[in-house]
Symmetry: C2
Subunit: 342 residues, 2 copies
């Protein structure tokens, strides 16, 4: 059945469109009072992620409230380590925490991988089916996964870090073992994304959130080959690759031939266009902090950014929207983008 | 009196030298057992910073132990907010904490600035005088300051942050007030560096540690003009500017005409050379995580990096050395650099 609003899909197909589609990373989240109401009734974030009806409900909320051009399934990148056998918790105001981390080759060899791991995440696929019904074909639904390197970061480090120096030094000390782990992650991510597509998502995005702690050389060796395999394995829906902070590897990521390349707010649109050409669709990259400014400034910046990117652009922030962003400013941001006429 | 080892100064003067000079950011610190011995006998980090004899002692330790080509005075960038009237503490394993932060124009207007603020930091200048005596002209002594933006980050945010979104949104919401604060910081930093030079430092380095959370536009407006003024105010000794993560503004920073430009490990030497030319001295940029690798790999990487930079290069890591780096690897790193023959 055809989507009522297929602007995102037409843009991802490289068609000439009337204006850029717009959605926000973390649009299903704390910026919405209706999200906070559901969240405060629960024991924690993990309960929300693992309860399909509720995950579906918060996924649809920003479509209702913000009138964005896409929904993104509410979930967590760390369900992949979980289904591979590495349990994690989310500690309020601290973030993810793994009671046990990977330290040796035997820890890595014990991890389940591929389809048998991915098939365990029924709650995600159920949330997608329910969301698709609730959306009633209004907008496309985006599914996502963390990239192998970013997941490895948490599995080695056990928690967030400013430097991820434990995970990074693992690349230097144990490159062969790192490749074994990244391979297992890649196989699981591919099956996970295929299951998500089976369940109904129209687009997938891969988040390499900690790409920026590496450099071109490390990214070429430990990330690009896996991103390429993930990208090549997904043939039924468009693929967006977003490697936050990986300004040093943009050409290499573009060479993986994603349907769109996400870029963060530190990247200068004209510089990126020079590096990767005008044909590739770019997604981003307004500074999330700009949404704390006045409405006039937000409108102005939306126009500046749209002019800098030109066609082949999906409007988004360069990072997830911050939880304390004034909701009226987020609404104004979306309206400003939707008022653009190419 | 002439320095016995003036390799760093000759390199900074643009002379053709026999090999790159080498020192490490955070070389005076937890990597050295003799540092940890002193540190554990004290109530805290701030006591070490404010006790000139001890600060001098730990400054000289890496010269004795690692045989590096420069000492850098042991201190803290946050002495500047302190002397301007904004008190801070260092909380063990958490980092800096300001009980009171800047919230309004009146908070900013209450800050002391310039010479009357800088002159309060006698303990730093005393530590420099003592260090110079202890060094006995073996190597040059580097003095440093935090850049205005980085100091503003802490003064608004009150502590470390992954995003510094409070400080950044201040730039969007209150640009005029931000400029007032940055101006006051700039005047204080200039007087502080002049006092340091008076006390005996041979080189100064300005650390813009949180440059990387901005972008080219914000950096041009809120950072470059102040870095330029600081640079132009320092005429007696060479100036190194290190804006961590500011890959987007390298040309603008180079245009401030520092004697050297520090670059972090994410930057590709050949790309940077293309952007800023081969005449400017570059400092950096080995990944600190590389020092967890085998000695063979360290040697190999030292050669790769040296070849990539060519002449006009000060060897350093692209970030402060991590506290748990094996000391023997640090020593091997320094030896490998010193074995280079141009």
């Amino acid at each position: 059945m055809k989507l009522k609003n297929d602007l995102l899909l037409r843009t991802l197909a490289g068609e000439k469109v009337e204006r850029p589609p717009v959605w926000l990373m973390r649009q299903a989240g704390r910026i919405l009072p209706e999200y906070r109401a559901i969240r405060s009734s629960l024991s924690g974030f993990v309960e929300l992620v693992t309860t399909p009806d509720l995950a579906a409900e918060v996924t649809v909320q920003p479509v209702d409230r913000l009138d964005v051009d896409a929904a993104i399934i509410f979930s967590d990148i760390l369900v992949i380590p979980e289904c591979m056998g590495l349990h994690y918790e989310l500690i309020e105001k601290k973030g993810p925490f793994f009671p046990k981390v990977l330290e040796s080759g035997s820890d890595i060899s014990k991890l389940i991988e591929g389809k048998s791991a991915a098939d365990k995440l029924e709650y995600v696929y159920d949330a997608i089916s329910i969301t698709k019904k609730k959306l009633e074909q209004r907008v496309p639904l985006i599914g996502f996964a963390g990239a192998p390197w970013t997941l490895m970061c948490y599995m080695i480090e056990g928690q967030g870090s400013k430097t991820f120096s434990k995970a990074k030094s693992f690349l230097y000390r144990e490159p062969a073992l790192a490749h074994v782990l990244l391979e297992k992650l890649t196989l699981t991510i591919i099956e996970y994304l295929k299951n998500k597509i089976q369940a109904g998502v129209d687009v997938v995005q891969v988040f390499d959130s900690w790409a920026g702690v590496l450099n071109k050389e490390l990214y070429s060796e430990f990330c690009i080959p896996y991103l390429k395999r993930i990208r090549e394995s997904i043939t039924d829906v468009p693929v967006i690759l977003f490697s936050k902070g990986a300004y040093f590897s943009l050409e290499d990521i573009a060479a993986c031939a994603p349907n769109a390349l996400g870029i963060d707010w530190t990247m200068t649109p004209s510089v990126v266009r020079n590096q990767v050409g005008s044909d590739i669709v770019l997604q981003g990259n307004m500074d999330p902090c700009n949404l704390y400014a006045s409405k006039e400034k937000i409108t102005k910046e939306v126009h500046t950014i749209s002019n800098a990117f030109g066609q082949n652009h999906i409007f988004n922030l360069g990072h997830g929207v911050y939880p304390d962003t004034p909701l009226e400013n987020v609404i104004h941001f979306v309206e400003s983008v939707k008022a653009i006429k190419y």
